[in-house]
């Protein structure tokens, strides 16, 4: 317990923290169109995010998200198509429900639900994708660093 608090205090000092590391699961349709659009418009974005394209946002397993946190990644975004717009017959509806539940579960092990970003149909234009990402970084910077206690919990939780 003592460990956890001290980490939190240290982390808050301005300028010492490096940028939060972010993984974005982007569906190959709406989400990637937004990301591609941002690239084509040469919108300058923070460096510390990596995009993993998936065929459909429904593909994203809770396990992968938890695993990401266990590796020290501080924010995970899942971007998909708007409700009614999924090419895979509303698979995104299930994904949204699943992710909302996961947010609640993450909170129980001390991972702020703000660390899991979901955007369904709000990121398909270049400025929307850029805005979502920048806002996400902003939000993550406002949170204390992901501490060891939470990470340990996640390592226990992932599938073998």
């Amino acid at each position: 317990m003592g460990n956890r608090i001290s980490h939190g205090v240290e982390g808050h000092r301005q300028g010492e923290r490096r940028a939060p590391k972010v993984i974005v699961f982007a569906c190959r349709w709406c989400a990637l169109i937004g990301a591609d659009g941002a690239g084509k418009k040469r919108v300058q974005l923070p460096l510390d995010f990596r995009v993993i394209p998936v065929e459909c946002a429904a593909r994203v397993e809770p396990d992968s998200i938890i695993r990401a946190f266990s590796y020290g990644i501080e924010g995970v975004g899942v971007l998909g198509c708007h409700l009614g717009g999924c090419r895979y017959h509303n698979a995104n509806h299930r994904a949204i429900k699943r992710l909302d539940l996961l947010k609640k579960l993450l909170a129980t092990v001390g991972i702020d639900s703000g660390r899991l970003l979901t955007s369904f149909g709000t990121g398909h234009e270049y400025h929307q994708f850029a805005g979502i990402l920048k806002d996400f970084f902003q939000e993550l910077r406002g949170l204390p660093p992901l501490d060891e206690w939470a990470r340990a919990a996640t390592i226990d939780a992932i599938k073998v």
Binding site: L32, A35, A38, L47, R50, V51, V54, E55, Y88, K159
Partner: protein, 567 residues
């Protein structure tokens, strides 16, 4: 299984667009030491390289596996991959990493950071490439036969078209005669042709074409199989027929709703449903002198929140029919909007106005009231456009009800795995694929899909026939090729039979009902129908132990990519 095969890395300078920001030379140095890399090449502009040369380079590198770091798939990346695949390279051996739109262009002032990010992205790509497997394709021989369910205008058009194209057609009809709803009507809206005339060319083809078999009085007892080979058991007048079809076209139509309990229907004489009026008009000139049509009966309301599209043109057509039989007749059409979109229908509307048919608008909250004791005598209506309460003498009132979804096709829907929307009409793919259902190989046309006039039903029947023709005219259907919006599906889910616990999560969640549980040595195991599976990966996300995977991107790949993401 992690592959020991190394990959060639091909990095694109993109004429400086990438190389001005990302230090490709240092990437090359680092990659050369990478355990999964056989060799590294930097090219000025990949998409302008002769694809032939590129594919040769990849083949000659030894393993045929290649990681290409260039622009985004939406730019040129995808066409580079397509070109390589067309030259015989295995798509499972190719990985595209976007370091232009995804890196150089969005971090142009941070060369060091961008180079580090590119290194991470390439590592992630290699992690994916190393484990990547191609999904096992499944092919099925295609029957050059199509079953058309329903011999109304849509079904007849579909059957006739396919027959003319040389495809064997099984035209299945529940009643004795073909024609569907057109058998019940006097004239076809809006061209006022007789139903016989409208259907004549299609009926002729069905009759004369030896390849089209017509089964009247048929019931579908069971339906099994999948695209390419549906096995359908028909009961026709006591005899059983087994039909094998490569595709199925649903043209079961809709049913006319009866205005039960509305506007004193069945209570007063002279208050008819629209279908009853058709019967009268077929018999000859109708004697009534003052006819009032009421539109939107049991439609566009709480219980049926839809516009059935056909009722306005049909009422116009019937109004004209009444006038033709009795030029003295006074006809009123009470409506909430006149739905005559387009050129032909709008012209027809103008014609009816010129003919002297009168239109009175009423509002949903203020419907007309029918007056009379044994027989209808008058209709009282608040004319919304003038604000006057009108009392119209009437000796006939016609209630225009919508077409509603047939209730007797539930069984058929279940057998074929079709879903229905909340109104009961069959679900279809949106916008660009209006005659396709969510089940591959099953198409839909006519009012079973959504209420339409005969002309449009015929067009949809022809559209469905065209789609079915494309499907069944080949020799084989490959499961991977059965994608509406991609050249090839991304993947087909694969089950590790040993690990599968038979929990059924995948069965429950699959949007295409591609997973089923089957008994294997006393246990239940999941089985994926490759024809239905679309590779979305929803099942993978709900599997408790990772026994169902997409070979192109399994869970371990994602795990590896996460590990490599920030070096």
């Amino acid at each position: 299984m992690a592959s020991k095969r190394k990959a060639i890395c091909i990095l694109c300078r993109c004429y400086g667009e990438i190389s001005d920001v990302i230090d490709l030379d240092s990437l090359k140095d680092m990659l050369t030491d990478h355990p999964s890399v056989s060799s590294v090449e930097i090219l000025d502009c990949l998409c302008l390289e002769a694809v032939e040369g590129l594919s040769e380079k990849i083949r000659q590198s030894g393993t045929g596996k290649a990681l290409i770091a260039a622009c985004s798939p939406i730019a040129r990346g995808d066409s580079i991959l397509r070109g390589l695949e067309q030259r015989g390279l295995n798509p499972a051996d190719l990985e595209l990493v976007d370091i232009r739109e995804g890196c150089a262009w969005i971090h142009k002032d941070y060369s060091k950071g961008a180079t580090g990010k590119a290194w991470d992205l390439i590592n992630m790509g290699l992690a994916s490439l190393v484990r990547r497997e191609g999904s096992e394709d499944a092919t099925t021989l295609v029957r050059h036969e199509v079953m058309v369910v329903g011999a109304g205008p849509a079904g007849l058009a579909a059957a006739a078209s396919l027959g003319q194209l040389g495809i064997k057609v099984h035209l299945v009809e529940r009643s004795k005669r073909p024609g569907g709803m057109l058998n019940l009507i006097s004239r076809v809206a809006p061209d006022e042709t007789s139903p016989g005339e409208k259907l004549a060319p299609y009926l002729k083809e069905v009759e004369e074409n030896a390849g089209i078999t017509y089964y009247p009085l048929a019931r579908i007892a069971s339906a099994e199989g999948t695209v390419g080979n549906f096995a359908i058991r028909l009961q026709v007048d006591g005899t059983e027929h087994m039909i094998h079809a490569g595709a199925v076209i649903i043209a079961t139509g809709a049913q006319a709703l009866l205005p039960q309990g509305l506007y004193r229907y069945k209570e007063l004489e002279g208050v008819l449903s629209a279908i009853e009026l058709e019967r009268h008009l077929k018999a000859g000139p109708v004697k009534a002198r003052r006819i009032v049509f009421i539109q939107c009966v049991a439609a566009r309301d709480q219980a049926r929140p839809y516009c059935a599209a056909i009722c306005c043109p049909v009422s116009l057509k019937n109004a004209m029919g009444l006038r033709k039989g009795n030029p003295e007749a006074e006809v009123y059409i009470l409506h909430r909007d006149i739905i005559c979109p387009g050129s032909t229908l709008e012209q027809y509307y103008r014609r009816t106005m010129a003919e002297g048919i009168r239109f009175i608008r009423f509002e949903e909250q203020n419907p007309p009231v029918i007056e009379g004791t044994d027989h209808v005598q008058a209709v009282r209506v608040y004319d919304a456009a003038t604000g006057i309460m009108r009392e119209l003498d009437a000796d006939m009132v016609v209630l225009s009800t919508p077409l509603s979804a047939r209730r007797d096709t539930h069984g058929l829907a279940r057998m074929l795995g079709l879903t229905r929307d909340h109104l009961g009409f069959f679900e279809v793919q949106p916008l660009m694929h209006p005659v396709e259902t969510t089940v591959p190989g099953i198409f839909i046309c006519g009012s079973a899909r959504w209420p339409v006039l005969a002309g449009r039903a015929i067009t949809q029947g022809e559209a469905a026939a065209m789609k079915a023709f494309c499907l069944v005219s080949g020799q084989e259907i490959a499961a991977l090729g059965l994608s509406q919006f991609r050249g090839e599906k991304f993947a087909i889910a694969r089950v590790d039979r040993e690990a599968c616990t038979g929990c059924g999560n995948c069965v429950h969640i699959c949007p295409y009902e591609a997973c089923t549980l089957e008994p294997v040595n006393g246990a239940s195991k999941s089985r994926v129908d490759p024809m239905h599976c679309t590779g979305c990966g929803t099942c993978v996300a709900v599997c408790p132990n990772g026994s169902i995977q997409l070979p192109e991107q399994d869970a371990q790949v994602i795990g590896e990519m996460l590990m490599q993401s920030f070096s």
